[in-house]
Subunit: 207 residues, 2 copies
DNA sequence: TTCAACATACCGACTGGTTAGTCTGCCGGT
DNA sequence: ACCGGCAGACTAACCAGTCGGTATGTTGAA
């Protein structure tokens, strides 16, 4: 009871208004605004107002405006890497593993459409070091995915007519592109889009 | 001789330095800088300095910074629309027409990589009216392309498993994505990339 | 041929507004 | 007494667009 009171009191302090702690609220507000108006067109003032705090709070938790961007990237990147690893490590035929991974990245991209839209649109706004770091993580992801394609090509279940790198870029092009055309509430549910896109990939890879 | 002198004098006036007229120099400088640093990160001052003129010149030829962006878009958009129309109107089987169009857009995109990169990255920075206009032109393009896919699906040469809209977005995703990974001087020539990507599309559409 | 009237192409200082980030200090809990 | 968690005024820099001015070219009439 005592610790409970403490927790509630602390919560009240760090969550004035709703039930979310301040850093999370800032991140959420920034994500929405960045996706809506773009990174450079969103002022720090607008972010803190949307989060119901002031600049003091923002610069208490984040080092810079860039930091917000980096955090947003980091979350999705880590999530997608984890999920890709899970699919790639599964005990199943290559075509099933690739299919699962290809469809899953579409679903998680749509489920975090704001984050991923910002990602591709403003990646180059990061400071050089952070940009480098993000690119490195990105490449790791790409390579893991490519390994799946290559494995299938080696074992003959996929056509080897197209270099694996290009195949991966082809698929991620469509993922990247989702933010441009996909609108929640459209005629297709995320999973349906994912299935279709995975189908296209697998059909393109038929020997 | 007299008229020649006059022409040269005029040229010298409108092309101080190299052989390009001022508006074209401005457009070229803006394109390079926008692609390099992004629209919002490029100041008008930097553009005019890169073009070797001053703000007076820029605002003499263009109404605003937005106008530059709009012009850059317009050029590529018109070029690609023309070429798509040519391929679509050709007298050949659908699969050949689609293949030609799909490969061609990849080549022209790579050949104008700066313009197209800016296009997809900064489209949403345009003023509402200009944005609407660009979107409308873009949709016309998309629909023409989709018609080709639908024709093939109706006549049975393409699989109808995937909605034509999605197929088009799948392909244009990869086109859109080119600016992210393609680097001139890489191991693949533009035409090779185009052939591979068109292959992937056509293979995905095999019944 | 000449000259005035006008037009085109550009220059560059200036303005009004915006912005990221800083800094001082309060406040409530431990 | 102290410290994390914030408030909010402040600063230094920057930037798109304007505007008055200059130089060069063109045209039409005397």
């Amino acid at each position: 009871m005592r610790t409970e009171e403490k927790r509630v009191a602390t919560m009240a302090r760090t969550t004035n208004g709703d039930g979310q702690p301040v850093p999370r609220r800032l991140l959420a507000a920034a994500t929405r605004l960045f996706a809506e108006r773009g990174f450079d067109r969103t002022s720090v003032q607008e972010i803190v107002e949307a989060a119901g705090v002031t600049k003091g709070a923002l610069y208490h938790y984040f080092g810079s405006k860039d930091d917000l961007l980096h955090e947003i990237y980091g979350r999705v990147l880590r999530l997608q890497q984890e999920r890709l690893d899970a699919f790639a490590d599964a005990d199943a035929p290559v075509e099933q593993r690739l299919r699962g991974a290809a469809a899953d990245v579409v679903v998680t991209t749509i489920e975090n459409l704001d984050d991923t839209t910002i990602f591709f649109r403003s990646m180059h706004h990061l400071s050089p070091e952070k940009y480098k770091q993000v690119r490195a993580e990105r490449r790791r992801y790409h390579e893991r995915f490519r390994a799946l394609v290559e494995e299938g090509q080696r074992t003959g279940v996929f056509s080897a007519d197209t270099p694996a790198d290009l195949v991966v870029d082809y698929h991620f092009g469509s993922v990247h592109h989702l933010g441009t055309w996909y609108r929640p509430g459209g005629s297709l549910a995320p999973q349906q889009v994912a299935d279709h896109l995975a189908d296209l990939l697998l059909r393109a890879l038929r020997p």
